[in-house]
């Protein structure tokens, strides 16, 4: 049996929750005040994901281009995704929403531009 502690991020209550897992299956979650807490805990324990925002080099410019994943990716893949982005240099002009790196680490998520470069 494995015990995990989590802090709910949904509101300033920041409920401290405890979960028990048996062979990867969640057997109990305690400590939440509302349903959102329990849902968050189950998602976080099953498959934690994060939106990643980062910077990418722009050819001929000192100012980098801000980018984001167009959907959340597995938390474990954050640094692989950043490393993959490190090999990219983009060419202006760039419009918001333009794909800068497709299918990041095989996740189906894309890094897209979040600013315009003229």
């Amino acid at each position: 049996m494995e015990e995990r502690e989590l802090i709910c991020i949904n509101c300033p209550m920041g409920c401290r929750m405890k979960a028990t897992l048996e062979g990867g299956t969640i057997t109990s979650v305690t400590g939440f005040t509302c349903k959102r807490g329990e849902t968050y805990a189950r998602e976080e324990l099953t498959r934690p994901v994060r939106m990643v925002t980062a910077l990418v080099r722009v050819k001929g410019r000192a100012q980098p281009l801000p980018v984001k994943t167009d959907r959340p990716i597995d938390k474990d893949l954050i640094f692989d995704a950043l490393a993959a982005l490190g090999h990219v240099t983009v060419q202006p002009p760039i419009r918001i929403g333009e794909v800068v790196l497709a299918n990041v680490c095989g996740t189906c998520a894309n890094f897209v531009a979040t600013a315009n470069v003229r």
Binding site: I7, C8, I9, C11, P12, M13, G14, T33, R50, M51, T53, A54, L55, R57, A62, Q63, P64, P66, K68, K75, I78, L82, I96, T114, A115, N116
Partner: protein, 417 residues
């Protein structure tokens, strides 16, 4: 010196200034001029590449840069004139501004109404009285954010963060993403001023310790920062001798509070509130100087840009009406901060109210299962039970026009435990 006349002059082209300018234009003002001292509009959002913006305003999660772009496009589409690289250096109570730019030199602007939207500054190292040498490597968190996100520069490799405000937390993650090692986030208070989401996703996700009830007691290094001493503090927030420990680092980021930038407001004779550091305004965001309005972080430091945009739009609309000749002096009915309530905005109301009134304030401490109550003349005009209230999150109270009524009786807001 060149002179020009505008309907509404907006000082500052950040989220507040843009929203105010758009609203003034939409309210029918023919000439709306927004001046901003930086090279591009957008204010602080230009360097906020992280997401979490716009959930209230657009119902989707945008980055700061995306949020800014929406307002920039809207401002241009509406025909708002945005003058960048242009700094307002003087403002009189008669709404005459002196602005300066490389392109046009000194100019005098006579405005029908003025919206103050200058935003805020970070509290600097000098305000902390931390001992130690004046070596390189000590930055405010927002300044470091600008260097990394806009200039493509890294301030350092081994980082300690003092203060756990949201900018500091966001920078802990950014520096980690950029390959730096963040050793700790040090917070004087027994609780963090940042959002729980940011503590979990910017610190916990990367194993960065949050040292509550701790502070930096020494800054070491001659030319470049070499390390800091961190010590625990007691209930009076004084460092406890013997608890010092050394952290070798080349960078110290300060995230220790924001100060509304009101030098111009004071020049114009605007009265400031000691509680918020911003102007004293009524429900139309008008200051003590007729025809001068204030909104955004220069009025009071917000947590969410969505609320800045909403507030600024009200200021812009009211300014357009003033410029069109609907001149009313600021309201004089006081809004009083009762038990548990910190700086409240607006501080005054008119005797006759046109619509619902939104009050915003911060609580003085953490309250669980408490009621927010507003009273007028012994009558309860608002009551809402809240699961939790924390100083880090602004509380919004919308008073219904009918409940509020009219007259000279003050409105009092308090927290009931």
């Amino acid at each position: 010196m060149r002179e020009r006349e505008v309907g509404v002059l907006v000082i500052g082209g950040g989220p507040a200034g843009l929203a105010a300018g758009i609203a003034a234009k939409e309210a029918g003002c023919a000439r709306v001029l927004v001046v901003d001292r930086e090279d591009a509009p957008g204010g602080i959002l230009k360097q906020c590449i992280h997401n979490g913006f716009g959930l209230q305003a657009f119902g989707e999660e945008l980055t700061g840069t995306e949020y800014a772009e929406r307002y920039i496009e809207k401002a241009f589409a509406a025909g708002v004139e945005v003058a960048c690289g242009t700094m307002a250096i003087d403002l009189t109570g008669g709404r005459v501004a002196t602005i300066v730019s490389r392109a046009r030199g000194l100019e005098t602007v006579r405005a029908g109404a003025v919206v103050l939207a200058m935003g805020c500054r970070e509290r600097p190292r000098g305000a902390l009285a931390t001992p130690g040498s004046r070596c390189a490597g000590v930055y405010t968190a927002g300044n470091a954010q600008k260097l990394v996100n806009m200039k493509g520069l890294m301030p350092g490799k081994r980082v300690v963060i003092l203060g756990s405000g949201d900018i500091g937390l966001i920078m802990a993650r950014r520096m980690t993403f950029m390959g730096a090692r963040v050793l700790a986030c040090v917070e004087l208070m027994p609780y963090s001023a940042g959002l729980t989401r940011n503590i979990v996703q910017c610190l916990d996700d990367f194993g960065i310790p949050l040292l509550l009830s701790h502070t930096v007691v020494d800054i070491k290094g001659r030319e470049r920062l070499e390390g800091v001493s961190v010590a625990a503090v007691d209930e009076t927030l004084s460092p406890i001798p013997g608890t010092e420990r050394e952290l070798a680092c080349d960078t110290l980021l300060l995230s220790v509070g924001l100060l509304p930038e009101n030098e111009l407001s004071s020049t114009a004779g605007v009265r400031l509130s000691p509680a918020t550091g911003g102007a004293e305004v009524d429900e139309n965001l008008q200051t003590a100087v007729p025809g001068v309005f204030s909104c955004g972080n220069v009025l009071h430091v917000h947590d969410l840009v969505d609320f800045v945009s909403e507030e600024a739009a009200r200021a812009g609309k009211a300014a357009a009406r003033y410029a069109a000749g609907e001149t009313r002096p600021r309201g004089t009915v006081p809004v009083e901060a009762g038990s548990g309530v910190g700086g409240i905005v607006p501080q005054f109301l008119g005797e006759q109210i046109e619509g619902d009134v939104k009050l915003m304030f911060r609580t003085r401490g953490i309250y669980k299962k408490a009621r927010v109550v507003a009273e007028r003349g012994g009558r309860e005009i608002y009551s809402k039970r809240e699961m939790i209230l924390v100083p880090g999150e602004m509380v919004g109270v919308t008073l219904k026009k009918d409940a509020l009524g009219s007259g000279r009786e003050p409105v009092r807001v308090r927290i009931e435990v």
